[in-house]
Symmetry: none
Subunit: 414 residues, 2 copies
């Protein structure tokens, strides 16, 4: 069973809106075991919409068209589908009444053009879920099918979950299950990761199940995605568990978590489990470390707070950093030790470095020192980070949290 | 001149990452007067990549392929383009050396598979901009051209601006000019903005030039994009200047800047112009305000630093906040005043509130107090912000900076 996605809207092509709908739809299809091999965007142009629909129907069993169902003149998805079906548009009185009721319920005046939304290709059936005024449509094209859904995300999602995914699964017959597991890592370059896993990937290529893919995600680290197909959920889970064990054994301490676990959530849970509080002293990251930790609901269980010591005077006055250069191991250590004393925390973290654009103290852009103070152990780690100012700051954040993870011996918890 | 965009990556189809690159590329093409009528996504599959390239080259003069240039086994964009060109891959020694140098400069070990990135289709030429280890490529296909760029946004963007857009414009000959101006606002809801501009938009619909579009952008505020077409840059600039004046007159103090100016850059420039330094005390935003300010190159001209006072003890011990509830105007004022004294800054800023998921001190999620201390004036502003935890924190950041902007009377500088 193959299903393509076509997102409709000139504003998508002009980059005025990012197409997040197709990504969400693709995720739902994968979880339902439906292959989605192509996704495309096309503007509000009848000819090109018809052409895109025909190309998609030539490759796939089903097509989900997202957008262009509104009441305005440039909402012509209904017309495009009718042309592909070779039928005309007919007014659906039931839908028209629902639209009138919807406006009445909101006490809003309904203009006549809103009833354009009740014109459907002959032979198409409306999708029962209709949270807005734009009806979704199920449009048979021979043995194949086109689903039309509005571009409004929460309206589209209800129709996907309520009608389209179940209908696709029924058409697919007893389809297999696809399950994914993301092994999250930090500390290995993507190329090093690839080399470590190369033999295993080659071995898997024979069966194609499970599969392994990488995804570099900046401050989210480097993700290794394991995907398994199976006749049932239990078998898929077993295949994933076995592959996960293999991959984790190969990658060792680079693995910090799984799926939606972030480095900051893993570190925060590790601190809470040990009954430790943390304080952060930030120069080059300027508050980003504390902000990431504070982003987690319940961060107050471990996060006391921090000091953004951007100017050298603040480093010295508040954190007791000695005179002299500040892009150094000693400065990082003094900051980490100083902030935990100042804020009365068990653990102190610190960043100092050069985010650019200019070098500092003769140190090149990307030079970062990360300080960690736990008990009597106050250490500093040197990093040379790539990228622009923002990227260097983000890499510094995850590198610092990863350093604390290693010092405390926080194991990834599935 | 028509240019299509193909985003490469199975993770895009599976919805594990959102394809923001195509949107950005589409925006740049529109600004350059290049038509982009189709954008598509395809997985890491040689056959489908080749097919998609051929379809795109059948409809357009140029194709930009984004992604699949990395060192790993599933990075096969080079192979796909070579097949479409009907040539083999050859090792480019110059690129190979640049990759070796890049690793050496970072003091990191280079694995052999990194040199796969130096294998280019025979007849292709590398793009001079190479901020990472993945080289971009210009690949002639008869009279047409395929550009290959990495999926890493900041690498892709440098190649687009430095090589691809200028090359496309040259190939297009003297094309009409499209120029855009973004008027950046904060403090008006999108619906209010639309109502204020409704008459003007209706008037413009007659000519279609210039055009006005909105884009809500979270922490970046609400953007009003003005787009003008003209035979030459001077005329386009005049049309935009006239429209900008009209729009700014209608929107008043909601306008904080233009184009790439962010709220934090406008506020930082305003502080520097007045010779003022700033310190930030953050509870609900947890360091995000300081981090945004520190993200600007040269932030040290005005930013002393800040205190992340996440726990109430830190608020009291460091900032002198009196006992009692902390989601209050008095707490925000005490924090703003306390942090400027502690860090020796002229201006103090503060945030305290409830980001959720649970209410606090009987205050509902979204309740935020923003403190501003300038000279003898210490004020606090109340906000009820919508959305989830992250959105509330982001809105609090831009709302606080906007409050300082109004207190200091910082005018938008074009």
């Amino acid at each position: 069973m193959r299903c393509e996605v076509i997102a409709i809207g000139t504003e998508l092509l002009l980059g005025q809106i990012v197409d997040t709908n197709s990504s969400w739809i693709g995720e739902q299809l994968a979880l339902a075991g439906i292959d989605c091999l192509h996704q495309s965007k096309v503007g509000d142009n009848l000819g090109r919409m018809v052409e895109s629909l025909r190309v998609a129907l030539g490759r796939a069993d089903a097509v989900i068209v997202c957008g262009g169902l509104g009441p305005t003149q440039d909402d012509i998805t209904r017309e495009a589908i009718a042309e592909v079906m070779g039928v005309d548009l007919v007014r659906d009185d039931a839908i028209a009444q629902r639209i009138r009721d919807r406006f009445a319920a909101r006490g809003r005046h309904m203009t006549e053009n809103n009833l354009r939304q009740a014109d459907v290709p002959r032979g198409a059936s409306p999708i029962p879920q209709m949270p807005g005024t734009a009806p979704g449509l199920v449009c048979p094209v021979g043995e194949r099918v086109v689903y039309a859904v509005p571009g409004v995300p929460w309206e589209m999602r209800q129709m996907m979950e309520g009608t389209i995914v179940p209908d696709l699964r029924r058409r697919a017959g007893d389809t297999g299950i696809i399950r994914s597991r993301v092994v999250r890592t930090w500390g290995l370059a993507e190329s090093a990761l690839a080399e470590i896993l190369a033999d295993r990937i080659t071995a898997l290529d024979a069966t194609g199940n499970p599969t392994i893919a990488f995804l570099a995600s900046g401050i989210e680290g480097l993700k290794v995605r394991l995907t398994a197909k199976a006749p049932d959920a239990a078998t898929a889970a077993r295949i994933l568990a076995e592959e996960e064990a293999r991959v984790c054994a190969l990658l060792g301490e680079a693995v910090f978590g799984f799926d939606d676990q972030t480095m900051e959530s893993v570190v925060l849970d590790g601190l809470v489990a040990r009954g430790l509080t943390v304080a952060v002293a930030e120069s080059v990251t300027g508050g980003m470390v504390a902000s990431r930790l504070a982003g987690i609901p319940g961060a107050s269980r471990a996060l006391r707070g921090g000091v953004v010591a951007y100017s050298s005077e603040v480093k010295r006055a508040l954190l007791g950093v000695p005179e002299g250069p500040v892009v150094t191991a000693d400065c990082a250590k003094a900051m980490a030790d100083g902030v935990r004393r100042l804020l009365g925390a068990d653990v102190g973290l610190a960043t100092t470095g050069v985010a650019g654009p200019d070098e500092q103290e003769g140190q090149p852009v990307g030079t970062v020192w990360l300080g960690v103070a736990v008990g009597d152990e106050v250490s500093a780690e040197h990093q040379r980070l790539p990228g622009d100012r923002e990227r260097i700051r983000q890499y510094a954040v995850i590198s610092l949290l990863s350093a604390l993870r290693r010092v405390l011996g926080i194991e990834p918890a599935g």
